[in-house]
């Protein structure tokens, strides 16, 4: 790999031991994946924030990187933490867990990393533009940045995204290169698509086909329009079930008009969506003791819709709304929070049902998110009820 003078100096420790460690990580990855050199990045999104996933060793590593002089060289934001950083008591988090989680966040803050704690950094001030090289972890956000925004990122892990943040660089391979961004499977969508639930089901249906065929980059045709929220749901689901970092969508995503249309093709019909939906439903509505909306984190428009649906009503059981802190603050200002919390539903900002320490705490979870269904079953051992957004909310109300 060819390194610049400055990059070699970082590797020699001129900028401190944390920058050196970061550069060692990037050089190793560049070597493994055959990068010619490094690229400057303008943004980083760092995963591995929840203490539930990091453990004591992860925390010790972050403390060491902060102590070794590591400082973010570019705009860097964080994935969800294991709790609402300001309101963890109300959500049943133990004081011991909270103390360790606060230490994790403090270590990131010492490195000048912005402690947003969201899986939707693009809704919270970290919004790369077309063609920008970035180093993001958080699989749903990587898929959104590559596909919807046309920025360029590989699927980073926690330490490699941190390494990019501390050096402002990433090795030039994978989705940073034009050739890797070419689609290899044409997907004809032959059914009308509407809502986050349907787009999540579409991501599951396509993701399963990608896994089975070894294809990486789907080119979707036949979708006339898609909202921000629908694209957010599709990205999360495709990344979860297909390992997808990039898709193109004719007429909607920015590179769709520039790439070669692939010759291998599949069709997705109503029956395929129905099958995907059925595969994510194993809970009876009567069994549900946990409702979770906000995977990925809810947008302002979704929070507003929730307030409309919950106005003057009461929910039956535990009902979490996960979103980014800035979205919650706007909801506070607009009075949505008051309406929502008066119903008994609760905001869990900064966190999500995938990374919070809730394994075994509930029996069955209701959600509109195909991604949340996957982790509820695999990580937390919950049954799942997968329905459209409005139906989830209406199903959670007291009669």
């Amino acid at each position: 790999m060819e390194l610049t003078q400055e990059e070699r100096e970082i590797l020699d420790g001129v900028q401190g031991r944390s920058a050196r460690k970061a550069m060692e990580i990037l050089v190793a990855l560049g070597t493994i994946y055959g990068a010619q050199g490094m690229l400057p990045v303008s943004s980083a999104q760092i995963a591995g924030v929840s203490y539930d996933n990091l453990g004591e060793a992860g925390l010790a590593f972050l403390d060491e990187m902060a102590a070794g002089g590591g400082r973010a060289q570019v705009l860097a934001t964080l994935n969800p933490a294991g709790m609402d950083v300001e309101n963890w008591q109300a959500l049943g988090i133990s004081p011991e867990f909270a103390a360790q989680q606060q230490r994790v966040i403090a270590a990131f803050a010492r490195m000048d990393i912005i402690t947003t704690c969201t899986c939707t950094p693009y809704l919270a001030g970290n919004l790369p533009h077309f063609g920008e090289h970035i180093a993001w972890a958080e699989s749903s956000a990587v898929c959104f940045a590559n596909s919807v925004l046309g920025a360029r990122s590989n699927r980073e892990g926690g330490p490699s995204a941190l390494a990019a943040a501390l050096t402002g660089r990433t090795p030039a391979y994978g989705y940073h290169l034009d050739e890797t961004r070419q689609p290899d499977l044409l997907v004809e969508v032959r059914t009308r698509m509407e809502g986050t639930h349907a787009f999540g089901a579409l991501g599951k249906a396509i993701g399963d086909r990608l896994q089975a065929s070894g294809k990486k980059v789907p080119y979707l045709r036949g979708i006339e329009q898609a909202s921000l929220e629908e694209l957010k749901a599709l990205c999360a689901s495709l990344a979860t079930y297909g390992g997808t970092a990039l898709f193109h969508m004719q007429g909607i995503t920015p590179e769709a008009g520039q790439v070669r249309q692939p010759t291998d093709a599949i069709s997705i019909r109503q029956a395929d969506l129905k099958q995907a939906i059925e595969s994510l439903n194993d809970a009876d509505p009567d069994e549900v003791d946990f409702v979770s909306l906000g995977c990925p984190h809810l947008s302002l428009r979704e929070v507003r819709r929730l307030a409309e649906l919950l106005q003057g009503r009461q929910v039956r059981g535990e009902f979490w709304i996960t979103t980014a802190r800035p979205i919650k603050q706007m909801a506070d200002r607009m009075g949505y929070t008051q309406v929502i919390e008066a119903s008994g539903a609760r905001f869990a900002a900064d966190t999500c049902c995938v990374v919070a320490p809730i394994k075994g705490r509930f029996h069955a979870m209701a959600t509109d998110s195909a991604k949340a269904c996957y982790y509820a079953a695999s990580k937390n051992r919950f049954k799942t009820l997968f329905k459209p957004f409005d139906e989830i909310v209406l199903g959670a109300l007291k009669p």
Partner: protein
């Protein structure tokens, strides 16, 4: 017998090989407190990777596995070195942050559990001196 590979993380070490033909997921597959392989049905299940030259084709599973290697090192239960056919992100990053010598692109076919190996990761070489 001397084999040539590629340096992922430098270091020189001599130790006993523990060889598997199966991939290893450090997160969930290895207990960070004891160093025991706990993945159900893995051919190394129940064996300790602590203090061994761990030889396996490639890593798999969650990227959090890098932190598991760091945690093993902190607990004195890390492998002495790691030898892969194809190193991937999780193992490479784990070896760098835990400072475990690591080589890849090594032909694994002639390596057996119990052999004594000398690793020179800087040179990318591996020598079987016994067994």
């Amino acid at each position: 017998m001397k084999l040539q590979g590629r340096k992922i993380h430098p270091g020189q070490i001599q130790g006993e090989a523990l060889v598997t033909a199966q991939g290893i997921s450090f997160f969930g597959g290895v207990d960070p407190e004891s160093g025991l392989v706990v993945e159900r049905g893995h051919e190394l299940e129940g064996q300790s990777i602590a203090g061994k030259v761990l030889v396996f084709p490639t890593g798999k599973g969650s990227t959090v596995g890098s932190y598991t290697l760091y945690r093993l090192k902190a607990n004195g239960k890390a492998p002495l070195a790691i030898i892969n056919a194809e190193c991937e992100t999780i193992t490479a990053v784990g070896c760098i942050i835990a400072e475990i010598p690591c080589l890849d692109q090594v032909p694994l076919g002639q390596l057996r559990t119990g052999q004594i190996l000398i690793i020179n990761a800087e040179e990318g070489t591996l020598e079987v001196i016994e067994g």
